[in-house]
Symmetry: C2
Subunit: 211 residues, 2 copies
DNA sequence: CAGCATAACAGACATTTGTCTGGTATGCCA
DNA sequence: TGGCATACCAGACAAATGTCTGTTATGCTG
């Protein structure tokens, strides 16, 4: 019965459970027990209930493997809208060939957090081609996550479908109609005639891999 | 005993379980049962074992709440390195105040895919402050995901700790020592004297919210 | 010292959860 | 018509997991 200084084992238990939970894998009492070589399950339970009382853990009662991290742990950031993590289909570059078909055959899925109020089918992702938005920090090869819903608002960065080709531009709605403005002086503003252009959605997130 | 067309219920069950798992919360058979109003647990088990056989789910045997998503699910795209989805701690901006303490008290966590060969503790995230890297498409407010491991390589974008302050710059190693080059003509290259600067890691991913 | 809190053990017990075996109904197809 | 597969139900059972009650030891403190 080796007795350790107060709080020391408790901390080690906490770190272990926390790491499990961050891996998305709630441990059972007996798993923790084995890990630390305790000879009684109750020892673990005492530690965990203590950790819950201290507010360092949260428990869903009446449920196997019910220990969780308190909310502040899993909420990504203050301004990040808390939502569900959902697999958003990545459609590739969607050049000529059809947008609708691409929806059916995505290249893969991206784990993206979307608000609770929205539906997964409102989102898709595209890879950016071309330099036309580099002034806005959107570079070729980046992936943009697009939300379909809502009326297009002037000033937003949108994905527009022009002659079976998807492009990322900043939308401007004026009295002369719609303008799609690049953010790069080497490119020209597009003024598509009414009916020839469809706004697929607005860009809500950008991701870039630098590996 | 309402019989549904083949595969239809199966798909609905799959989507439900998948969404649970993406939320990091493996459901029990009886939870799925209640959700769909089945009157037998076995019905659920039949569906789930079928889904495992189809390769759409994976199961850890001899374990409560042991259903998981197969790896490929979280691999977004061909060139995206296949890896686990892990909650990487977001440390905020890490200005003066200490880097080590920030590790212990993250602002939140970001779901990020990291290679199987790496450890979660090798990664952290930071919010970018300042315009010094805007030429590389890294803007203020962006979040960079940083990998600690490995020797710094010339030409990579890194996070450096200079006088208790973290900065993102492009690293250049020459015969005159280390240079930290901004990617914006308005800023000057830094040449920190040896010992006064620590490279925390290299930027492997960038995320930006535009909501 | 007595009193008290903490750390740990021991084992019984209850609940949750997964597994099994067998049955009913429906549609498809040779 | 008779298999045969699929969808589903029913209930028993076993394994995993959480809960409880009681005990021993250690250190601190008045």
């Amino acid at each position: 019965m080796p007795k350790t200084p107060p709080g020391q084992t408790r901390n080690r238990v906490f770190r272990f459970v926390r790491d499990c939970l961050l891996r998305g894998d709630s441990p059972s009492l007996r798993e923790v027990q084995r890990r630390f070589g305790f000879r009684a399950v109750e020892t673990v339970r005492a530690h965990l209930t203590a950790l819950v009382e201290e507010g360092r853990l949260v428990k869903e009662p009446g449920r196997a493997r019910g220990y969780r991290l308190p909310k502040r742990f899993s909420s990504p950031a203050p301004d990040w809208s808390t939502g569900r993590l959902q697999p958003v289909p990545l459609l590739g570059e969607v050049a000529a060939g059809g947008f609708e078909e691409a929806i059916e055959n995505p290249e893969g899925n991206l784990p993206v957090e979307i608000p609770d109020s929205r539906d997964l089918s409102d989102y898709f992702a595209l890879r950016v081609r071309g330099e036309s938005m580099s002034g806005a920090g959107i570079l070729p090869g980046d992936t943009v996550i697009v939300e379909r819903r809502g009326t297009p608002v002037s000033g937003q960065i949108v994905v527009a479908l022009l002659e079976e080709e998807a492009t990322v531009k900043r939308l401007h709605l004026g009295k002369d109609g719609m303008e799609l403005r690049p953010e790069n002086p080497d490119f020209d503003t597009l003024r598509p005639p009414p009916g020839s252009c469809r706004i697929l959605g607005r860009v809500v997130e950008l991701r870039r891999q630098l590996r």
